[in-house]
Symmetry: C2
Subunit: 152 residues, 2 copies
Amino acid sequence: MTAASPGDLVAEQLGRLLLRSTRQHLYLRLVAGVDGLDVATYPVLSGLGRLGPTTATHLASVIGVDRSATTRYASKLEAGGLVRRTVDPGDARATRLALTPAGTTALTATRRALSAAMDDVLSGWPAAEAAAFAASLERFTNRLEGMGGVDR
Amino acid sequence: MTAASPGDLVAEQLGRLLLRSTRQHLYLRLVAGVDGLDVATYPVLSGLGRLGPTTATHLASVIGVDRSATTRYASKLEAGGLVRRTVDPGDARATRLALTPAGTTALTATRRALSAAMDDVLSGWPAAEAAAFAASLERFTNRLEGMGGVDR
DNA sequence: TATTGTTATACTCTATAACTATA
DNA sequence: TATAGTTATAGAGTATAACAATA
């Protein structure tokens, strides 16, 4: 028996984080009270916030669902006034998805809620550990992405 | 404009980790080649490994799906010879779910694959940073669980 | 009466395939 | 011919409700 490597420890925790219960609880809390937003459409809203205005195909690859689901969720958000469609200036085949002001407001609210929850989780940590963890986590996520585990 | 707090940074990375693409890529890689195991039944197998023999109701609460789905996935794994059902000694209503030797073997294989992937992600990190990250991540997950974001 | 496991049913999420328009 | 978006359809995944057995 060898001692648990950092990889073993990280593997176990990542397994717990990726459980359905984790995202369900978290997403439900985030979208609660935001009109026109639900667990399925949240990644679309969030992805648009991260990418800025972009096409459905690109957004689909980033959030990990295919074009057809992405365009349907975008329609749902559009119906709720959170997303706007415009023709891509450079390619008439493509549609440019973008947040409306209401969409930006909704996204800001969910981000604030998530950040507050994370601040809560990190409360009581030594400032140095919290900062180091945040930096390492970003490094970790970027590396995962590079390996194909997380899309950009 | 204030600087991004650790909570802001962690929130952003957690959002990326919880995307469908992350778990889909990871889970697909883990269950590939393991007979009788798929993305839906993997949490059941993994949960049984973490908890040891337990009831469907308890397992369901841990993996974040309800009793009926858990029992159906358990049946699938049982059909594949990875899980065994026995009557709970202390309560004849309850069924004790447990891994078979084949189930343990399959779980070991997936764990090894995940740990190897994590070692790969952490390769090139200073040993101190990797160890600190692993420890902080465990602390983080435990705190999330305590807030209801992750079930035990 | 309450709880466990299970099954029947329905609903949600998502992918595949087909269609239209543009490149 | 290839690609973007969309829509129609089908298939997973999951929850709700109802049942039988036991507490």
